[in-house]
Amino acid sequence: MARQIINPRWGNEEKTHIVAGFKYDDGKIVNVSITNEGDANDNPDWAEIMATVGVAGIDKNTKDAIEDHNSRKQQRQEQEILDRDRRKKEALFNAKAEAFDIDLVKNSKNRDVKNKIRRASSITEVLVYTSMLHMLEDPLANPLVARMDDPSNSVADHQDKDLITNS
């Protein structure tokens, strides 16, 4: 069956291997490795490639293939960085959204700490400021807040609370 030699390029630095594709009449393409080492000096495929493409042609194909490979590798790496960055931003977005799903955060009047949550640049920061808001306003964490709910509290108590929550 007749076949066409596609894109032969060097398979090693010593130029004793050629890598190419053989495309047959039925459309099938087979990747082949061709050598001229040892007894293979009379390899008819090697001789055909040397006669039709030549060393200069194989050099050029090899250079193009390496450049193409490096370009694809760089694109893949850049895409990976973009994907990682996107995933990180999505995770941060979700963390902020979840923080504001908490009623205590949503209904808090402490806009400074809420703003810290909104402007957080990492999930850790979101957690720190969400926790801070809880420490300031959750009666479980801050007994002063619990005392605020008691109408018998003194003015001093209210001042304490103002100091804490109105940063």
Binding site: R86, E90, A97, K114, R118
Partner: protein, 253 residues
């Protein structure tokens, strides 16, 4: 109708509704007396959020640009429309209505290095950003916004090459900013007073990409962020997407 107020429109996805609620919370943080209206779908509305808004309208179209539908129904004499994916970060938000003066509609300026596909034709580029819009409720202004919605629908579904837009760059087909640009060229709207916010108004539409550490962003680095404009991740939008149901308001008229 003599009030000034803020309008959100949340259609298509629960993610937009959630973002609008979060933005309204931030608005209340900095301007507790703000008059706030939301246009959204009944199925998205949460009872607990109703207190956040002065007015709630449901029955809106399930449409990617329902914003224009809602904008044209603003209950205020002066309105600031805000995209849902925004945050208020300054008390200066309360002064925004002073900017309008005797103009009918104002837009913030598109920043070239954070926007794509701005070319309309060989002599025009998009300038008006559609995310933050300040406008009055004069009859012609509301007609303009009405037509903005209906024409956008036509623009998106037309065969561009054989349409009235054929002389313009086909990349414009997806942009509602093109639609408003096109309408403002029409004789009917020649008397509309429209302009950019002073100095482009970037503090009223501080795009999140301006925070990246890039040389192009340097001029914007120290701007006050009155309204911060981010983007909801696509995954978040898609996971809470809603679809039009038979009988829902899908036709503008």
């Amino acid at each position: 109708m003599n009030k000034f107020g803020y309008v959100y429109v949340a259609s298509l996805s629960g993610a937009y509704y959630k973002a609008a609620v979060d933005s309204a919370i931030s608005l209340r943080d900095y301007y507790p007396e703000a008059d706030i209206t939301i246009f959204t779908h009944e199925k998205l509305l949460k009872e607990s959020d109703k207190n956040l808004f002065n007015k709630v309208f449901t029955g809106i179209p399930t449409h990617s640009r329902a914003k224009m539908w809602g904008m044209s129904r603003s209950p205020y004499s002066k309105t600031l429309y805000l995209d849902c994916d925004t945050e208020i970060r300054s008390e200066n938000i309360k002064n925004v209505f002073d900017i309008l003066e005797d103009r009918d509609i104002m837009f913030t300026k598109i920043i070239p290095h954070v926007s794509k596909n701005r070319i309309i034709d060989s002599s025009n580029q998009l300038e008006y950003h559609g995310g933050i819009i300040l406008y009055n409720s004069e009859k012609l202004t509301l007609e303009l916004i009405n037509e903005w919605y209906s024409l956008y629908t036509e623009q998106r579904t037309c065969d561009w090459k054989n349409s009235r837009f054929s002389e313009y760059h086909p990349g414009m087909q997806r942009w509602d900013q093109f639609t408003i640009w096109y309408l403002l060229q029409q004789e009917k709207y020649k008397s509309i007073k429209h302009s950019l916010f002073p100095n482009g108004g970037h503090e009223y539409n501080y795009i999140y990409l301006l925070e990246d550490d890039k040389p192009d962003n340097l001029p914007y680095r120290d701007l006050e962020q009155i309204i911060y404009h981010y983007t909801i991740p696509a995954s978040r939008v898609n996971e809470s997407y809603i679809f039009p149901t038979p009988g829902s308001t899908s036709d503008f008229n």
